[in-house]
């Protein structure tokens, strides 16, 4: 005997969301919005906290909705590379521990972490955020190496944007002590009382998009949206509107016109992020 049970609507919605996620999303996208109430071109609430790790030379915590990434920068001494004796090093590393999401296991870094590390290394290299010559103390003998460790604490999509922002904020927070080479002993003398901020030349900001059903582009995808998307696109732009990186790892094809729309959204996002970061830095008390 068939009996119709009068289920509360919210129970029905969660069942539908689990069983047919793509169809559930399509119903929202048809009305030009998403299940969390955002519009297609809207970012999640971005918060940034600078200088929280006292043992690091520079640190920043960035939250994009639920996605949380913390970046810590440690500066150490190293000999400059043989082929570039007047340059230092910037070594980024992105870690996606099992803490942030059930899809990651403990052990050597998985593909996603390696791809993210390579992406951050490319952004640093392409945007020339720091002139490597500034990190040189004594050509051929001593240079700074900045180890930038980015750890994801909560993975809810759009990890690349969060990492780029965290890296930028942490580097702006880094203070390096003055180092002089003693002529007689040829040893480095570190003056911890006199510290200088790094010279950050450009401010690269990443904007990520997800492609749905080969046609629709949505900004700042959550974890669920990334999983359902047929492709992703990340644009890294600096303040002059120059592109540092156009990262589109496969997925559905895009026309030149769609790319143009993405560019304009990336420009507005850059302004938002720059404003937020300037506010935070201004609010910090000078040491």
């Amino acid at each position: 005997m068939l009996r119709f049970i009068n289920l509360p609507q919210i129970y029905f919605n969660t069942c539908f969301r689990t069983v047919e996620p793509l169809d559930y999303y399509r119903r929202f996208l048809k009305e030009n919005c998403r299940p969390d109430g955002r519009e297609l071109g809207e970012f999640r609430t971005t918060t940034v906290n600078i200088g929280s790790i006292s043992t690091a030379d520079g640190s920043a915590l960035v939250k994009l909705g639920n996605t949380t990434v913390i970046c810590g920068v440690k500066a150490e001494f190293a000999a400059p590379p043989a082929d570039a004796p007047d340059k230092g090093y910037v070594v980024p590393n992105v870690d996606l521990p099992p803490l942030c999401s059930s899809r990651f296991r403990s052990g050597p870094p998985g593909e996603e972490a390696q791809v993210a590390s390579q992406f951050i290394a490319d952004v640093i290299e392409n945007s020339q955020i720091i002139q490597k010559e500034d990190l040189c103390i004594s050509p051929g003998k001593l240079a700074w190496v900045l180890y930038c460790d980015l750890i994801c604490l909560d993975y809810d999509g759009n990890i690349l944007d969060a990492c780029t922002f965290a890296l930028l904020a942490a580097l702006k927070n880094v203070q390096l002590p003055e180092v002089t080479i003693n002529e007689e002993t040829a040893l480095a003398e570190v003056n911890l009382k006199k510290k200088n901020y790094l010279n950050i030349r450009t401010h690269p900001v990443a904007t990520s998009f997800a492609v749905f059903d080969d046609t629709l582009l949505i900004v700042d995808p959550t974890g669920e949206e990334e999983h359902l998307a047929t492709g992703t696109l990340t644009i890294v732009m600096d303040e002059e509107g120059k592109l540092c990186c156009l990262h589109k790892p496969g997925g559905s094809g895009l026309t030149g016109a769609k790319l143009q729309d993405c560019m304009s959204r990336a420009v507005t996002r850059h302004k938002e992020v720059k404003k937020l970061m300037d506010e935070v830095i201004k609010s910090m008390k000078p040491k």
Binding site: E111, Q114, Q118, L243, P249, G253
Partner: protein, 235 residues
């Protein structure tokens, strides 16, 4: 067909010399492709662009580990081995790019719960390596008979300091360039499937490079068609 089929392409955007330095304007280096040269993989191809050469073998559709199987489509795996040294983080990043490009065109839904493995070996690197890898992978997938909704090709553009565009740059040109952009385009509508870039460039320059890459892809697709026609017309 049995046996290796060797096809040469003297394909150029405008007329120019085949060997020696390239003339001004946009032109691709001499390229050549050889299919079915390895006996064990289901499909194999070697693609040569100028002095850059990549050898690819495709195994599939084949058995897949239960942990990796997807219930409604084929699992695509890409392994890229550099010429010297062990594969590192850069190779992993390139593998992801190639894999996602192949996933966009391969009709995985026709072979659920199977695996298609694409193994690329860099024989020599003289610039435009990623584009050469993509072209070789496409030819190998065709040789293996993997169903695809479109063919794809890779094109590299280099922008030097005064904004001049060079297609299919050599290693020297890549090093001296201000920006190097690699695109993967599909054969049906020349849409952008994959893009990865190095260096700083403006929005207008991006559109210019994309348009040039789309024009150059015509030649690559024509070369694919000719080489396959030549291969299958021999009885």
């Amino acid at each position: 067909m049995d046996g290796a089929m060797h096809t040469d392409a003297k394909s150029r955007a405008e007329t120019g010399t085949e060997s020696g330095p390239r003339g001004p304007g946009c032109s691709l280096r001499h390229f050549a492709c050889e299919q079915n040269l390895l006996s064990r993989p289901d499909g194999s191809a070697s693609f040569i662009q100028g002095d850059t050469s990549v050898l690819v073998g495709v195994y599939g559709p084949a058995e897949v580990k239960v942990s990796k199987e997807i219930f409604n489509k084929a699992t695509l795996e890409v392994i890229l081995r550099p010429k010297i040294g062990l594969p590192g983080v850069a190779e992993k990043s390139r593998e992801q790019l190639i894999r996602n490009t192949c996933e966009a065109v391969v009709l995985g839904a026709l072979h659920p719960r199977t695996s298609i493995t694409v193994v690329l070996q860099v024989i020599s690197d003289a610039g435009s390596l990623l584009a050469c890898c993509l072209n070789a992978a496409c030819m190998a997938l065709v040789d293996a008979g993997v169903p695809m909704r479109a063919l794809f090709c890779g094109v590299t553009c280099a922008l030097d300091s005064d904004g001049t565009l060079v297609l299919d740059p050599t290693a020297k040109q890549e090093k001296e360039a201000r920006a190097v952009l690699t695109f993967a385009l599909d054969s049906v509508e020349r849409k952008l499937l994959m893009s990865t870039t190095k260096g700083l460039y403006s929005d207008a320059e991006l559109q210019q490079c994309l348009a040039a890459a789309q024009a150059a892809s015509q030649h690559v697709f024509r070369f694919y068609r000719e080489s396959l026609q030549r291969r299958y017309s021999k009885s």
